[in-house]
Symmetry: C2
Subunit: 302 residues, 2 copies
């Protein structure tokens, strides 16, 4: 049993706490926003009800997750600290600088980021060698993958420790040889999303069509056979012929995304606004969350 301290009780923070508690660990959760901290129990309860893994009695799992009302309190008991605040460098810098006086110099600190550089996040720290990039996928208590990446100053023992601890939790871990923005998964994801947005910009199809294509073909294949094994399977000469033919025509957009920018200018920001690329009538948000979790569970049940 390891005592984790989690900074940030939002979407990722509470989800990581559930993942850790299901594996028998203790998670103290701190959030700067008292309202988020007050709602922690309800969000944990909801996640536990939805995942409903019979092997993990809800009460026992819930009791291992406790709100903590200060970084000092969090630092006092944590053997490993997980920073899961929002994706803004200045906020991560402030939190990590405020944390360090409350923990021993060799206490591991994991930062959960999709897009920021680990080396840059570590610049605010007195002991940057302890900072490891540990990227969980949502929902963390269901998605097996955790990506681990070192910053330029990260100690290799800290990387190995994170890997061993996460593997012991039953997670599927991958290690990057070096830090790169977006790690592996989000780079792959947003390369595909960039092309999807380009197809909308070009008037080739509607957003719903993109989702139908992914759900009815690529998604079905990629849970069983990854893109590299598939490239070998069809043959690298054919792969080269196809990519050599298609790549010059694929999107290389960087900052301007006309369809996205137009929707944002209209305040159509998606689920939170009730409309975005798709319509979001009442109840769709819950239906999507439940469909996602049910789909993942079914997939993993093989």
């Amino acid at each position: 049993m390891t005592r984790f301290g989690i900074i940030g009780g939002g979407l990722m923070g509470h989800g990581i706490a559930v993942a850790l508690a299901q594996a028998g660990h203790h998670a103290g959760v701190f959030d700067h926003d008292p309202a988020v901290l007050a709602g922690l129990g309800a969000r944990v309860e909801q996640a536990l009800t939805r995942c409903a893994v019979p092997a993990h009695p809800v009460g026992a799992v819930r009791d291992r997750i406790v709100p903590v009302d200060s970084l000092a309190g969090l630092g006092k008991h944590a053997e490993v600290v997980i920073e899961a605040v929002s994706e803004r460098l200045a906020i991560k810098h402030d939190v990590l600088a405020a944390l360090e006086p409350h923990i021993a110099p060799d206490t591991p600190v994991w930062t959960n980021t999709s897009v920021l550089s680990i080396s840059r996040i570590a610049k605010a720290m007195s002991y940057p060698q302890r900072l490891v990039g540990v990227h969980w996928w949502n929902p963390p208590y269901l998605i097996p993958l955790v990506e681990i990446a070192p910053g330029a100053n990260t100690g290799s023992a800290h990387v190995a420790h994170a890997h061993d601890l996460l593997a012991a939790l039953g997670k599927t871990t991958v290690r990057l040889h070096r830090d790169i923005p977006g790690f592996i998964g989000n780079r792959l994801q947003f390369a595909l999303v960039r092309e999807a947005l380009y197809l909308l910009d070009e008037g080739v199809c509607e957003p719903e069509t993109i989702d139908t294509v992914v759900r009815s073909s690529l998604g079905l294949r990629w849970t069983a056979v990854g893109p590299m094994e598939n490239a070998d399977y069809i043959g690298l000469d054919l792969t080269k012929a196809i990519i050599g033919s298609l790549a010059p025509a694929l999107s290389t957009q960087t900052y301007d995304f006309p369809t996205l920018d137009r929707l944002l200018a209209q305040q159509r920001t998606g689920r939170p606004a009730g409309a975005g690329l798709l319509a979001w009538p009442a109840g769709r948000d819950r239906e999507v969350a439940e469909r996602l979790e049910a789909g993942i569970r079914h997939n993993l049940s093989r």
Copy 2:
């Protein structure tokens, strides 16, 4: 019951024949290579054994697929012709020009392509309005998706007919408003593959790691919730922040793919050569094919 004529008995041709025969249709299959035609029955048998759908008695399905030894013979009975020869424009031109004298001017012709322009394929035809781009996914008898795209001269009645016939077969059809190389699915797929190859070029990880990431995170999510619904779900403002941050760093490679080019120079062409991005010891090819079909079937069983 519709009588289809399929030109090309290879991977896609025999798979499409199985998909059609399972739905009660008749498929005459022609191939210029007598060896391919002679092996048709065995490949159909293998596909039927692997998919083993109890609702489709193997014998009845098999009997609806017959080899045909000439384009004249194929044209005599076909109500719809499906061209599924290899992805080379000159070959498709030759086949379609040779076919047309043997069919009525209004017989629909569907061309199965991943990367070629429908308008350009149609240039060899006397009646280009009948040519519809109909892209099946492998294996065609398991993957629900079929993408339908018009060329510049395709008649809208021919597009609607293809859509209705495929939907009646139980396929999940999507229609593109216009022809674009790679249609939707292969553009999305190769946008992701391009980024994967770039990560290898950059020394971020091994090919196996790419597949672990896709199979343990993105694939699991994308069978349940597509990328557009997910963008709305997390919010388009957050989506814009992430893609605006990542896109400038994503691969924009066009013709040179160093890792791929190096392997090809070493004759490491993948499965056919016994080595590629991954090692291909004896038996791996069969294991991959079985894993793919089992994974897809499990996914669709919900």
